[in-house]
């Protein structure tokens, strides 16, 4: 098992390098002169040239890439000119908030999605199946940012059950119940789409498994139906559900950008959108690389979980 984890970690290295190359290449497309963008249109040519030298922008692209990569490996992601602080500090701080939001949503959508999918498959064409299928269809069709806005309107403005936005109350907040109250709506809004997708996939994976011969064997042994469904069938279906969970984690992370905007959540997605609008390129670059790297690592965890579940995978 240790060897397998090591192997997967090593295989992630080229992917991580590829990500930095892609991000760097995209950023190199930027039209115009970053120094001019930073200094504004009233800058003198001397100042622009000096800043270009200071930023190393007079070097060829390949050299710049390796300087950038080398600095990142030493934990130096550069400085955000708009915030005037190290990119990495800002990204890590913001990513924590995103992790709380996206992590909660991910747990929610995994549990609810699998539950709904299994119930739906076990009651195929029954009323529960039809109700779930309809709810799933609605869930995967509604834009999460629209759903979030409607939730604010209903639960925060009209019913006054939950706070409108933010992560903590400005006055007297900061404890765990306060966080929970602020987290409920954004986490639910973020989980809805992924729940639908996971439910759909779990349903078809379960239906596929329930036709298999070993399910008939379990029934012929006299295994109670509840255990056939939640034990034998779900266990086998998890083999195809877990990779989907890994993919959906990426979609939850993506959806977090919208939800963070709608609910004023101080996460990395909102940071990226702000940085783009302010053309704070180093912050965008650093943020994208950091989040993508975390996602790659998360997928290794998914692969390891998969290998623990399925003894047929050679570890």
């Amino acid at each position: 098992m240790g060897g397998y984890i090591l192997k997967r970690l090593i295989s992630a290295v080229p992917v991580l390098l590829g990500i930095t190359v892609i991000v760097f290449a995209i950023m190199a497309l930027i039209p115009g002169d970053p120094a001019t963008a930073i200094l504004g249109s009233y800058a003198t040519p001397e100042n622009v040239a000096k800043l270009n030298r200071d930023l190393g922008l007079d070097q060829p692209a390949v050299t710049r890439y390796f300087i950038w990569l080398g600095n990142m490996l030493q934990g130096d992601f550069g400085r955000s000119f708009a915030l005037n602080r190290p990119v990495l500090d800002e990204v890590v701080e913001r990513f924590n908030a995103t992790l709380i939001l996206a992590g909660t949503a991910f747990v929610l959508c995994s549990l609810l999605g699998i539950l709904a999918g299994v119930v739906s498959a076990a009651r195929q064409y029954g009323w529960a199946d039809k109700a779930i299928t309809f709810a799933v269809l609605l869930g995967i069709s509604i834009p999460s940012f629209f759903l979030g806005m409607m939730m604010i309107l209903i639960f925060a403005v009209n019913l006054r059950w939950l706070p409108v936005s933010g992560m903590y109350a400005i006055y007297g907040g900061g404890d765990f119940p306060d966080l929970l109250r602020h987290l409920t709506m954004p986490a639910l809004a973020l989980a809805v789409v992924a729940t639908g997708v996971i439910a759909r996939l779990s349903r078809s994976a379960m239906l596929e498994v329930l036709r298999q011969d070993f399910i008939r064997t379990a029934r012929a042994k006299g295994v109670p139906e509840r255990r056939v469904i939640w034990g034998h069938a779900l266990r086998a279906a998890m083999v195809s559900i877990i990779p989907v969970l890994g993919i959906q984690a990426g979609f939850v992370l993506s959806g977090a950008v919208y939800i963070e905007i709608v609910f004023q959540w101080p996460g990395v997605g909102r940071m990226l959108v702000d940085a783009i609008l302010k053309r704070d390129i180093l912050l965008v670059q650093g943020g994208v690389v950091f989040v993508a790297a975390c996602y790659v690592m998360f997928n290794i965890v998914v692969d390891v979980a998969q290998s623990l579940l399925d003894p047929r995978i050679k570890t």
Binding site: M149, V157, V273, V288, A292
Partner: protein
């Protein structure tokens, strides 16, 4: 194609989705012709007018612009941008995928590595990076959305292309001297286009959503031009004061995406052959039963079937898989049921314990008496308590019939624990005893193995051990040796025979091999097209078969020491059981058939221990 359209229209939800999309597209197309107010003319005196006000059907927004007009123009823009993104992504993705799939080798390797790399991003990060580089704007958002979806198309199309590139007609084209370009254009592309179109139609809703999302973030369309996403983004500031300005564009996005999803699901279902044949339905815990009369028990025996009838109902077709089958088996007796595949022998066996997949299987008549109790239509709890405890099954392919993810010892222990409340440790000990009893060496370590770590013969022994777990009265073995080689087969048969003698088990042994029947069974019943055509003690049936079908079936078995006898295959095929002819089902393949054979129903004539269903039997039974 017409069949496909019919299926699509029969799916009411898909038709509804299609209607919604059609209506939205038509509205978007005729928007410039409609008598609408100008979408971008501001009038701050009339801001936030509520819907259904005179002059403004959907009200106005924060700048006093007519919402209906802005909605329709915004929809037009969103549809156009989403569709263009889909087309661009599909064309580029398909080109990349075809090149990778067609050329293979190093080109394929490099391209697919890159695709994997791009797919390692959460899609929005890539889109944000592209927008960050190009700057906010609708065109740039379109490019970003198209770009992040290229890998998806490339990967799908590559998979299809690899399949096509290996086919004969491509080889033929190559041998005919066609260049790569022409082969791709004239041989590959026509076969890939349907897949591209389907993938595009299922992702177009997604693209509309993504471009709307970027616009919502303020990174897409810039004021005063507005698509649905930026309308929603601008309305967010006034969410509390004037919710209708948010609801109007939001509901439109929802309607469009839901319509596309409904239609897409319908298309997928209509194209899926498995769904069409009902193969994706889930078998219920017990076969459904729908019978009018219950025949009374007749003879003795620990298990007795009386006029059992099982059908498969698939759409308008009815397959009579088991057609009034009556059998009985006594304790310590081995009854063989023999027939070609499709003769109904397995379905007969599975019907007894309600294990026929249902839907589509239905038991429509007859009874199965176990010690005088009818099992057909017995409540699920009763069936479950007997399954594996009193009546156990051994199935054909142990690779597929054991759970792949549980250790075999645990599967055995479970078989015991679902019927007896004993501790886990006790059950595990018993499992090891069972494995020893079926002569598995190193039973203790084998109990910890997974099925894929055992050989086929070992797995079948595990299957037998599982059937023996609760010391049942009856074992129903459904071709337990068919998948095994001859030596292992002989070992398994002698094992079953020993168990029967030691424990007084009744065995129903299903096979298509008369050699196996001769070795193991006391009596044999021959099935053809869902009916029993001959029955009797194994020795006499083998020596003097009465039904022409039995005679031909026996002639198919090569005998050791008999020299080189010609294998007499039976000409023709067994009939499909959804269109059975009147009278004898074997008549079309029988060389003795006369008109009378197909005139009407032929009864199973009994004489002593034997019975035959034939007007002109090979032997006169006495």
């Amino acid at each position: 194609m017409t069949r496909f359209l019919k299926l699509l229209i029969r799916n009411r939800l898909a038709a509804l989705g299609g209607a919604v999309i059609l209506a939205v597209v038509v509205l978007a197309l005729i928007t410039p012709l409609l008598p609408l107010q100008a979408p971008n003319v501001t009038n701050t005196a009339d801001r936030f007018i509520r819907p259904f006000s005179p002059g403004h059907l959907l009200g106005t927004d924060h700048l006093g612009r007519d919402l209906l007009s802005r909605l329709l123009w915004g929809t037009r823009l969103s549809l156009a941008v989403g569709a263009s993104a889909a087309v661009i992504a599909a064309v580029i993705g398909a080109a990349v995928g075809i090149v990778a799939g067609y050329f293979g080798g190093r080109i394929d390797n490099v391209i697919m590595r890159l695709v994997d790399m791009l797919m390692a991003f959460p899609y929005i990060l890539l889109a944000l990076a592209i927008v960050a580089a190009l700057g906010p704007g609708l065109m740039n958002a379109l490019i970003a959305v198209a770009a992040v979806n290229v890998p998806f198309f490339a990967r799908n199309i590559r998979g299809i292309t690899v399949g096509i590139a290996g086919r004969e007609f491509v080889d033929a084209a190559r041998l005919a001297g066609m260049g790569h370009g022409r082969i791709i254009l004239f041989e590959i592309l026509p076969n890939v286009v349907p897949v591209i179109v389907i993938a595009m139609s299922t992702t177009i809703g997604w693209m509309i959503l993504e471009t709307a999302g970027l616009s919502f973030l303020g990174l897409g369309s810039q004021p005063p031009q507005a698509d649905l996403g930026s309308m929603l983004g601008e309305a967010r500031a006034a969410l509390i004061a004037a919710p209708h300005t948010s609801v109007v564009p939001g509901a439109m996005i929802l309607a469009i995406v839901m319509g596309i999803n409904l239609l897409g699901d319908g298309v997928r279902d209509a194209l899926d052959p498995r769904l069409r044949s009902g193969a994706l339905t889930r078998p219920m815990p017990a076969t459904s039963v729908r019978r009018e009369t219950v025949p009374a028990p007749q003879g003795g025996g620990v298990l007795q079937l009386a006029d059992l009838e099982t059908r498969f109902e698939i759409g308008p077709r009815i397959y009579r898989a088991v057609n009034k089958v009556s059998l009985e088996v006594a304790p310590g007796e081995c009854l063989g049921i023999i027939g070609e595949s499709g003769s109904g022998k397995s379905v007969t066996a599975l019907s007894i314990m309600g294990l026929v997949a249902s839907p589509p299987g239905v038991i429509t008549g007859g009874a199965a008496y176990y010690r005088g109790d009818d099992l057909i239509g017995a409540p699920y709890r009763r069936l479950r308590s007997l399954r594996g405890d009193r009546i156990a099954y051994i199935f054909q392919d142990p690779q597929a019939t054991l759970h792949p993810l549980y250790r075999v010892g645990d599967q055995l222990a479970e078989a015991i624990r679902v019927h007896h409340s004993i501790s886990r440790a006790e059950a595990e000990d018993r499992a090891i005893d069972l494995l020893t009893a079926v002569r598995i060496p190193n039973a203790e370590s084998r109990a910890r193995a997974y099925p894929h770590e055992l050989s086929g013969g070992m797995r079948q022994r595990v299957g037998i051990a599982m059937a023996m777990a609760n010391d049942p009265d009856i074992i129903i073995a459904d071709e337990p040796t068919t998948a095994l080689d001859v030596t292992v087969q002989a070992q398994i048969l002698s094992l079953l025979d020993d168990l029967r003698r030691e424990r007084g088990l009744a065995i129903i042994f299903i096979t298509h091999d008369f050699g196996v029947v001769a070795q193991l069974c006391d009596r044999v019943a021959v099935m053809y097209a869902g009916r029993i055509v001959e029955e009797g003690p194994t020795g006499t049936v083998l020596d003097a078969p009465a039904h022409p079908y039995t005679r031909r079936l026996i002639a198919c078995v090569p005998e050791l020491g008999q020299g080189r006898r010609r294998l007499e295959a039976i000409p023709g095929l067994p009939p499909a059981v959804d269109r059975l002819p009147a009278g004898c089902a074997f008549a079309p393949r029988c060389d003795k058939a006369r008109d009378a054979c197909t005139a009407g129903d032929i009864a199973l004539e009994r004489a002593g221990a034997r019975a035959v269903r034939c007007l002109f039997p090979e032997e006169t039974l006495t």
